[in-house]
Symmetry: D2
């Protein structure tokens, strides 16, 4: 009975989720986020003078900071592990490979800050992050990505959250990993990978989400979950490179993804 609670005393906790509100940046492919109060105080008053307020929320599984389940993407009708996509989807969602199949992750995570590597606060729109970028960013951390780790790739893009159109990047594009970077992560044996943009992909100016090769490589070919629209601002500013990532998306049975509020626990030694 001697758990060392002092370990937590020295820990800093970083909130890695963007705040969710109507009008926030999100993909036009997904239901627009809405939150509306249903009951307000005073609408119904109990005998003791108390009153309760509540709300209705409309959202999507890929809205705000979220985790992509393996069922999110198929290739030629097959999901990861050669599962027939059509045989597992119904009004109940996905009977296999949905977000309910994702075990909450509490484990080692390495943050590869590619923006810092390039000496910028934010990578340029449309920039393709390469394998070389990741390898050099890893060197800069002084540690190494191990098999089974989570890896977050820092682009600084979360700094643009309040600039809606720039963040979405329909015109100018969005930075993200190209296929070489994705291959590097696959070879490193990562359990999951995350970033700050709506889609963990290089989106070239005006190209939209026409092709999403990294999604296919990760979700279909290699069974690697993707975390998107993370808020890494504070973590990048603090120069953190190694952390405990706590990632537990809502357990929505059969969904292709779900909102999450990931935390970074950082212990200075």
């Amino acid at each position: 009975m001697t758990f060392d609670w002092s370990a937590l005393d020295n820990a800093r906790v970083f909130d890695l989720a963007q705040p969710m509100r109507r009008g926030m940046p999100q993909s036009p492919n997904h239901p627009p986020f809405q939150m509306s109060l249903v009951r307000r105080h005073g609408d119904y008053i109990r005998d003791d003078g108390s009153s309760a307020a509540n709300e209705v929320i409309v959202t999507g599984g890929h809205v705000g900071t979220h985790v992509d389940a393996l069922a999110h993407v198929s290739h030629r009708g097959r999901l990861h592990g050669d599962v027939d996509a059509f045989s597992v989807m119904s009004h109940e969602g996905f009977a296999r490979l949905g977000i309910d199949g994702f075990t909450p992750y509490v484990g080692r995570c390495v943050l590869l800050d590619v923006a810092r590597l390039h000496g910028v606060e934010t990578l340029p729109p449309g920039y393709g992050i390469t394998a070389e970028d990741l390898a050099e960013a890893e060197k800069a951390t002084g540690t190494t990505v191990r098999s089974g780790d989570a890896v977050l790739v820092g682009s600084g893009w979360s700094r643009l959250w309040d600039r809606h159109d720039d963040f979405v990047g329909a015109r100018d594009g969005v930075p993200g990993p190209d296929e070489s970077a994705a291959t590097w992560l696959v070879r490193a044996g990562v359990r999951l990978a995350g970033g700050e943009t709506i889609a963990f992909e290089q989106i070239k100016p005006g190209a939209g989400h026409a092709l999403l090769p990294v999604h296919r490589m990760f979700l279909v070919d290699h069974g690697i979950n993707i975390v998107e629209t993370m808020r890494l601002t504070e973590l990048l500013d603090a120069g953190v490179t190694e952390l405990i990532l706590v990632l537990a998306p809502l357990n929505i049975v059969g969904a292709t993804g779900a909102p999450a509020r990931p935390l970074a626990v950082v212990t200075d030694r």
Copy 2:
């Protein structure tokens, strides 16, 4: 640079959230949970043969496992800290005391298993958990609740999750803390308290949610957040009494509550 990753190797992680699906038990006062696939694989196929599926989700801030924000309840028009409820609520939700004001909790938590204390798997419907119950359950843990801790109160009710009508308890009631138990928790200086039922209250047979005294004491009088509809089954079965609770509800700006997927991290020593 010598973080002791082996600490995590010995840790067990328990998922404390109930799975979310259409038809799950929830309060009739809140929007019924819905998840529906919008796009299915094959609806739109990209040039490379890949296809993405997604969903729309309708829910409430108090649906499934969730955290109550202080703004959830008012008394005579005042929120916690004597804030005028009417001046802070609008189409944007609550400008103060909403769930976005809740700092994610990563810290010590004591589980007081009242069901075990009474030698039952599940407390009877309508049972009122008393201060004495909590004091005795605390003794049984071999540790003490400290100021600033989270406390979970075990009733075993999450075992009834798949028995919809019993879980909701409209007819027979639901076990929960009475005012003496709430006072005990307040005096112990807890930061937050959680349980397995839809409302952290004693609900007598047929009484419904006519009065919610514990909500008023916690949310309005003392600024203590409440976690509801938790899944404690595995934690209770394992006899865990002391744990790290990671509680990070969705950061829905201005909401009176939000779904969460709390985790328990338990380290055996």
Copy 3:
């Protein structure tokens, strides 16, 4: 330029829709109706002192008074006209046979009051309306059903609207046409048929919607639209037997059904 506006002066207009509100009776197979104010007066005040309120609505195509599109039901994978169901449905709904393919109906309608025929206000739960019932009710009207007409079948069930559980009839069933009655309507060449219950079917006690033979006959085999959950109370009380039915469901592209507010225009001669 001599339209006889006096014709309208003598017309009575009956509202044939049930009011829509949270908690109203509806099928558990469809999304529960919700309406919540988003903005209330005072939330945002314009420079001239004016303020606008609005709402969010969540509903289904088969909620409240509504029209079933032909795409609603398939048999062995085929829709009406031997259309392959799978080839016409996607994230955009149905490319064929959706409710957008229903031309608003303004035309002759005969009301067959089977409750009156049996000397009751409301047919018993689970009662099967037969071809004989319809033939006798037709005789009682003094007119005949013609090819292309709309036919409404009166059961008096809309009188139970405020008795939620009785109206839904999960336990005791709901009256409706059996297959002989459906055949009678098909042979009469009706363009569409409507009734007061959630499903235009005989629902036996405890049987639920396990089989819906009339839906299959009408929607799949014969291309006859169905109107459900109509409010016929006033029309039945007035003893109306012949009317102009104005039926224009919301034009929701690709939907399998849509809410409507049908009107009866009755001219006394």
Copy 4:
């Protein structure tokens, strides 16, 4: 028993509603329209080989073709008839002056085609329709607006429905009645007035919905309902000036507006 059904034989029915689909033009102040299939054919197959598909719909009361209830707008906290706005609104919507208080309209309607008056298909963006425009357009009809009539004002704007950004007019504005035109309609004693744009107002380039004087005059001061986003294309093309308008919005209890599918019945004499 001699209703003259031949009257209907000579009638033409015009559909005055725009089709509703995801992405259609609507005001950014209201919940974005969504329709998604929940069950598709094959998801659940009944014993007889039949299967039913259905959908979930998310929308607002002022989305698509719709009617504004008097409760939609307040001025200095008062609704029409000096009703205190705050005393009648709650989680149930409006207890007074909601759309459920609107009696379905079946009656005389005059169409004043201002676009035709100006010799254009579509009035210019931001154009202010004046009292003079309405007076001249009325003369051109050869008839007069009578007290209690409905009046539709033709701008030709519904022709732009498929040009999303032009239709919404955020940049260039939208044509609509100025205050002189609204006064003209008030003096004519109209029961309701309708148009093709999202808001029945003159919206100047870049001005947005900063002020809505016609709404205030009609809804608050004079109790005149407004119909918006109507599809008048076919009616304008046909040169119709006098018609029977059938206007029956969904009866959503307590809502500030509701979608409708208005019809024009035109009888050639």
